[in-house]
Symmetry: C2
Subunit: 486 residues, 2 copies
């Protein structure tokens, strides 16, 4: 049975948490007295559905059930995890916790607070040990970071369980050692924010120029390495000590305005808001969200391909999920479904359709999964042997578009000691959008020649080939380019 998360507060952050839990197969009950909450959560969920699956290389779990509770008590009933994302008012949070813990005092209760320390949140609570900070970053459904901050009163086991739950929904729990106002990341954001307000107020830069100064330079660095690792490189072969010796002395320079803060008044608000309109006002907030999400998907996929930083979190998440999947049952006279894919933004051409080469990509994903299934996996390739594709014939039959769910099936036309002749269908529902006929050869990579596959692989492959002999031969098998149809 699906586990249940209670989401208290259904704004952008609460909605993001709800989406993350739902898309990872949890049931979610949201409580928010705002009558607009279902619409707001629905909008965040729509964004999440359009983006989060693009980060996964395996099938997504069945989405959980979303409900809106009338009371906090109803929301937290039977919950395995509770996340609070109400307004940043301490007294409000305390009232909410009292209601929560009256019904569910033992359930882990994370707060999305950006500013309060866990010990402040725990004041006067029925069970302070269950309360901690779990501070996410917008968009919650895409960014992996959750700062997990316990206080001395927190139960260490509750914190470990909560971190495990966060990992299960694809997040990176960063355990903060000592509580401090605004935790870690928001302290940096606050510092940059204060400096940026000064620069705009003093007419050094507009909001747009500030943004360009970030995203054309160090912002790109920080998506993949943080401050210290970046500076370690800047130090060159001499490393971090050299860097510090070089730049340390500037600590006393007038390089930031941060010894002071700008006065917060209407004039400052109007200045910033007006410049922001000029910079971004030609996009609606919804458009900006979609642009941001697609960019983030792109970055995250890059890091995933390279198994680095946030991409490592995604890979671990896939692995965790894959381990929970049932193995396919192959030796029947059916083409075997080997892959499920979603058409990602990067797969689309200027026609709005899936790029030609992505049909072969989908075919490769399918045949790779089949090869893994018969034991020719990465570990096997590491021994110096592999199946190489010698030849492919592709029929383009229909068009796939952004967000389409595709599956790939394999029918073995023929297999022997050295050769593997397959027919792959890339399906949208039951309709093939493309078929690929491929000849693969088992090769000794060092010797650079075709050799007999080992018994372990043939013992898995040949029974499938035998079972598939009962299947009808696809009419497009054996075609050459330009051949008349029929």
């Amino acid at each position: 049975m699906a586990r249940k998360a209670a989401i208290i507060g259904g704004g952008v952050i609460g909605g993001g948490w709800a989406a993350r839990f739902l898309l990872n197969g949890w049931d979610v009950a949201v409580f928010d007295p705002d009558p607009e909450a279902p619409r707001k959560v629905g909008e965040v969920l729509a964004n999440a559905r359009a983006s989060l699956p693009a980060l996964s290389d395996g099938p997504m779990p069945t989405e959980g059930n979303l409900s809106f509770a009338q009371t906090i008590t109803e929301a937290v009933e039977g919950a395995d995890y509770i996340q609070e994302s109400v307004s940043e008012k301490l007294e409000l949070k305390h009232r909410v916790y009292a209601q929560i813990q009256q019904a569910a005092p033992q359930v882990p209760l994370g707060s999305s607070t950006s500013g309060f320390r866990p010990s402040e949140l725990q004041e006067g609570a029925a069970n302070p040990a269950a309360i901690f900070v779990a501070h996410p970053f917008n968009p919650v459904y895409l960014l992996p970071l959750a700062e997990v901050v316990p206080s001395a009163k927190s139960d260490a086991q509750v914190i470990e369980n909560a971190k495990e739950i966060l990992r299960e929904i694809g997040m990176f729990p960063l355990h903060v050692r000592k509580e401090i106002d605004a935790h870690i990341a928001d302290r940096f954001l606050e510092a940059v924010w204060r400096e940026a307000l000064w620069l705009v107020k003093d007419g050094i830069a507009t909001t747009e120029e500030v943004d360009e100064a970030i995203r054309m330079g160090f912002g790109l660095r920080w998506g993949q390495m943080g401050l210290f690792e970046t500076y370690r490189i800047a130090g060159g072969e001499a490393g971090m000590k050299h860097f510090m010796a070089q730049f340390g002395p500037y600590l006393s320079a007038e390089w930031t305005k941060l010894m002071d803060v700008p006065e917060f008044n209407d004039e400052l608000v109007d200045l910033i808001a007006g410049q922001s309109d000029a910079q971004s006002g030609h996009h609606t907030i919804r458009e900006l969200e979609r642009i941001r999400d697609q960019n983030l998907i792109g970055f995250l996929r890059v890091l995933k391909d390279r198994n680095w930083g946030a991409g490592k979190v995604l890979k671990d998440h896939d692995r965790r999920r894959q381990a929970a999947l049932p193995a396919p049952t192959p030796e029947t006279a059916q083409p075997m479904e080997m892959a499920r894919m979603t058409v990602l933004p990067g797969w689309i051409d200027y026609n709005g359709h899936m790029t030609e080469s992505r049909y072969l990509f989908a075919g490769s994903e399918t045949s790779d999964a089949f090869l893994r299934h018969i034991g020719a996996d990465i570990a096997y390739v590491g021994t110096g042997f592999s199946y190489y594709t010698a030849e492919t014939h592709i029929m383009h039959l229909d068009e796939a578009k952004l967000g389409d769910a595709l599956s790939g099936t394999v029918q073995v036309l023929h297999a022997d000691e050295k050769r593997l002749h397959v027919f792959i269908r890339i399906l949208k529902g039951d309709t093939p959008v493309a078929t690929l006929e491929q000849m693969l050869l088992h090769v000794d990579m060092k010797a650079g020649r075709t050799v007999t596959a080992p018994k372990a692989i043939l013992d898995r492959l040949l029974p499938i080939a035998e079972a598939h002999r009962a299947l009808e031969r696809p009419k497009d098998a054996g075609r050459h380019v330009g051949q008349r149809k029929g």
Copy 2:
């Protein structure tokens, strides 16, 4: 004739400038009294050669000539642009400028200084009007940002010319309106650096935890939108004013330590350097550079695909270069070279070879260029017509590896009003690594059926088809998968 850039100071930053100019076709003379300078510049250049071409979708210009000058006078002789990247000592910079301007007083002279204002740099100069700040970000050969800061004494025309030169080498010149210590971006970096030193010193976080707090969350956001655009979204439909009303009051909160700076002493240096070793010491600096560069290429390609932020700069740069290329001369009995590509890191599979689907990608790049050549370009697709690929046959003949330079040629086998039957060779030097036989159909996209191509296209296509009739028919044309060779 190639233009010449003089690079004064050949460290990591000077080397990055040298690489950017060289790979964009400029000749470069480096002056640096350090006998290690040629090695250091060589290492940066090797990194740049392995990464910068991956951002381009067209052929790179012929690399310029690199020389090491014995004197500043020799370096700046005949230079069209001078970039100074010597140590951050004002008195040294003044001495260098005196020597430069004795020989070349009129040549634009940009400084890579992170901290000094242009008016400080200009003090005592023979021609202050030619001196300005052009502050780049490491790695200079990949990150587009260059902060261009003039003072009141700078010549406006010199600044505009310099910005144009920076654009020509693929950079994004950010014109800073008023001079200020540390310009714009480094003020943010300094603020974050100071806060981070406090967090480590106070035992709140290690260097690794600080880095994770950045790259798992807001760092990913900042590679594609800056501070203000990100917060505009956070404000939701109510926009920037709402965001400010919500977060403005925290300006007075104790959310940063920045009212003070940590004392810079050996203890702090040892703490930071020790933690940094624990975090990153298992990679050499060279390895970290390569990891960083490949990640940045990935991010930049994502943004380029989406024509957003730094990716827009890359697209503009391609367009600029393409406009300067000679058109191919097609109507001869030769397969036409339509594309040149470099095998990018993202194209490589776990075997270390080019991923199967990238051969079709290379083929598509080639056929797309051919379609553009006959007038079936994006503008034409916008009118509702296009060539669709119906069928493809691929022969995998050899392996392409990371960094290989490939070219794609088109031989027209047959063309008529509706059909275009081509044979594409993907070549490494003169050796085909793959061939692709394709049938393309001219379609009315709205009606979803094959229709006659317009005269304008046929007038360009049919003479090529006629000329190619004289070519020998490739032996692999008309093959079906699994057919015996010979």
